[in-house]
Structures are given as structure tokens and as C-alpha cells.
Symmetry: C2
Subunit: 250 residues, 2 copies
């Protein structure tokens, strides 16, 4: 499977081949063996197969076409609700309505999601993670009827890959992300060195050109992840965390 | 590797066999192929091999013995610092000092960590995730010299497993974590049904007995994750997010 991981690429186009229930359930069950906080399993997954359900979710993901095109959409949620309901029923008072338990539940949801992704890819499936989930968590909460102490963290669109497969996207050299013993902060020289290959890739140069920008970084900061958007959606997320019970009003 | 995942268990005791640099680097490089937000790779990993370094980290993990006993300790961090430094050097203004980008970076760090864990386990290594990282993030930041816009999210202690292997811990039935089409909230009956097997396990009954509690849930809420602790460490985390630049003072 390490060989499978080396070749991995994000799959955004799927064939019409359906994913059998038994396969999906096997993959989710395997993924649930992943580590989690104190074996409390502070996560849930909502599986959307119904076409109308996908159409309702699509706007929350800025209408990226994978949402309605994929046979299955999985929304992975941080979930303290199930645990707290269990505790209440067992004469136990769970103080899980706070930021630290939101972090624990987020970690659990992410470990579960990535273990699922690895297993799915080994079975020949292809997938795309949608980071838009945390941007429009409030809408997704309404669409999927998520109760208090449940917040959607990440979405996976899943299906059998349509040929031809897309190119594998580049990564920074290992030295750029690895710090031995302590963090060695970046210098102008190391930044130049670590980003050189990325900046010189033809596909990235083309990306700069068609977006009429001067540098690749500007494509990210001006178009893809602009400050005003990040700040707006941060306010939205803060509000969602308060509404779902993980953060107190100050 | 799905077979490997089915059998996975947390490994807290390691042999003295060292982990070669080449193997560790191969695993980290493979893990970097995992998905991440917009291919910005908003994460870093700090590798601790030095015994003194492990001893300095240990108190931040409440002196759990794995920290000093493992050949390698890996601290996975949400990292927007590298990206922002790159942007600054390329005439681009990155507005990444906010909660939404902290979430994106946390997601990236977790996908990277779990891909690493899966690859490591396939190579015969054993590991333990330490969720204490987010509790004492402030101390870890000092020990590892993490700059602004870098927050430690999760730690892995890594080594070759010492025999005999521990028992595999149980999981809730799939139906407990899986919601078809929308979230179906738990009822007293479904809670009883989903937690029955867990509560009836001999090891969990013994856990309740030795801790002099009435129910298994009370072991979690009174001893392992008490409300006062969760709230204290939530305040600490809020403060860390402000200090590291991901959250504004209101």
C-alpha cells in the first residue's frame, strides 16, 4: 500500500460504476480501527448517496462538480453528542462542551477520514477531499440535521476514477517540512530553495499566466485564499462553534 | 494493508531496535503525498531522537513513559508560517492569521500524520498517538521553538513493537458511527444497544471496578476527561491560538 500511496492523486471525475454497500461498510469499519482519543470515538460520518441530497449539499461546497457527480459523498464530523448522551444515560456528567474536546473530536474525525481514504484508495477507489466543509459548516449542519456538539470537518467525494487519471501534483521537498530536534525557521534563502521546483513547474507557471499574476504565491493569496474570505469564514466558524456548544460566548 | 489496518493496535512499548534515518524519511516522504489544503502543505513535523529532547517533552505529555522510551517522537504541527514567509517574499499578502486557516492547517497536519502512521505500521513499526499535545501546546511551542503561526496538534511515539503485543481495543459497531443521508440522533434505546458490547467487555468491567465507579462512562467523565480539566485546557488552548496569531483578542 506504500506503493499505492506513492502514486496517489486527487480524483475529481468518476465513472458511473456504483460503490456496493458492503464495500463501503467494510472500508468504514476498517477505518474505525484507527486511533482515536481515549477510544471514545468522537466522530460520525454521514453518507449521502441520494442525488437530491448531493444537490442540497453542493452549494455549501461552492458547487464544485464532484459533489453531484460522485456516487457517494461522505461528511466526516467531530461528534461529542453520542458520547455525552451515553454519559447522561449512565449517571455521568460529561464536560465536553468546550474547545479542547472540539479539538479532540476534530482529531478523531480526521484520523478516521484519512484511514478511510487510504483503505478506499487501496481498493481502487478515487477521492477528493473538500476543505469547503469548515467554511460552510453552518449550512451543512442544517442540511444534514446535525445536533448540538456535532460539527462537520471534512468531506470526501468518492467513486471509481475516470480515465485518463489526472497528473500527480507536486510536493515540497521533504527538507521543507521536516525539522530535526527543533524548529529551524525559514530564511529567504531556504524559502527560495524549497519553493524553486514548485515555482518552475510548467503547470504552475501557466497557472500564474492565465490568472494574470506576477507570482504563484499571489494566485493563492489574491484568488484562492484571499484574506477577506479567510476572515469572513473565520467569523462564521466561530459562530458555528458557539451555536454547536463547543465555545462559550465571551 | 487493509489486513494490516484490521489488526492495528496502539503500541506503547518498543524494542531497542533503532529506526534508520532512510526508513523514517521514506515514510515521511510517502505521507507527504496525502491530500492537503490547496496543495499549500500547511504542516511541519519536528522529529525528536535526542534523549534529552524527549526528556524535555515528557512533562508536556504528563510524563507518559512512551515519550522517553520510544526511539523517535514526532510532533505534527499546523504550520502557516512557511507559506506566509514564502508569500511575503513573493509580493503576496497572505491573510492566514485566522481561525479558518488554523482549521485548514490542522486538517493538513492530521492527514499527514495519519498517512505517516499507516505507512509506518505497514513497515512493521508500532506507534501511539498522544492527544496531550493540544493540552500543553504552549509548553511544546517553547521546547521546540515553534514560531508564530505554528501550533503542535498531535504527537506520535514510534518504534518497533515489543512482544507480546497488547490486545486490540474494541470499537463501537459501525451502525453507531454511520448515518445514512442525514444524522439520526441517538435515542435511549440506540445508546443502550450501541454501547452494550463495550460495557460488557471483561476488561472494561474491571476498569470500572478498580476505579471504584458505578459505570464505565463515569471513568471517562470523572477520571480521564473531567470537566474542570477540559475547561482549563480549553482556556490554555484559546490563549495559545491568540499567541500564535490564529485568533484575535476580542
Amino acid at each position: 500500500m506504500i506503493e499505492c500511496m506513492k502514486k496517489r492523486r486527487t480524483i475529481r471525475k468518476y465513472t458511473q460504476q456504483p460503490i456496493p454497500d458492503e464495500l463501503l461498510n467494510e472500508l468504514l469499519e476498517v477505518a474505525s480501527k484507527a486511533s482515536n482519543t481515549g477510544n471514545m470515538q468522537l466522530y460520525s460520518v454521514v453518507v449521502t448517496r441520494d442525488q437530491r441530497g448531493k444537490e442540497r449539499l453542493a452549494p455549501a461546497h461552492f458547487n464544485q462538480p464532484m459533489v453531484t457527480a460522485a456516487p457517494v459523498v461522505l461528511t466526516f464530523c467531530a461528534d461529542a453528542n453520542r458520547f455525552v448522551k451515553w454519559a447522561e444515560q449512565r449517571k455521568a456528567e460529561a464536560g465536553f462542551d468546550n474547545l479542547q474536546m472540539f479539538m479532540a473530536a476534530t482529531i478523531d474525525a480526521m484520523l478516521f477520514a484519512e484511514a478511510f481514504a487510504e483503505a478506499a484508495e487501496e481498493k481502487g477507489l478515487g477521492l477528493c477531499y473538500l476543505g469547503t466543509t469548515a467554511y460552510n459548516a453552518g449550512e451543512i449542519i442544517k442540511i444534514l440535521s446535525l445536533p448540538r456538539l456535532v460539527v462537520p470537518i471534512i468531506t470526501i467525494t468518492l467513486g471509481y476514477p475516470e480515465e485518463p487519471l489526472p497528473a500527480q501534483s507536486e510536493r515540497l521537498p521533504l527538507a521543507a517540512i521536516l525539522h530535526e530536534e527543533s524548529y529551524h525557521d525559514y530564511t529567504p534563502e531556504s524559502i527560495d530553495r524549497f519553493y524553486k521546483e514548485k515555482e518552475e513547474l510548467a503547470v504552475n507557471k501557466e497557472f500564474v499566466r492565465i490568472n494574470h499574476k506576477e507570482t504563484l504565491a499571489q494566485v493563492f493569496t489574491d484568488l484562492r485564499y484571499p484574506k477577506a474570505n479567510n476572515e469572513h469564514f473565520s467569523e462564521v466558524l466561530l459562530q458555528v462553534l458557539k451555536e454547536q456548544g463547543f465555545l462559550k460566548d465571551e
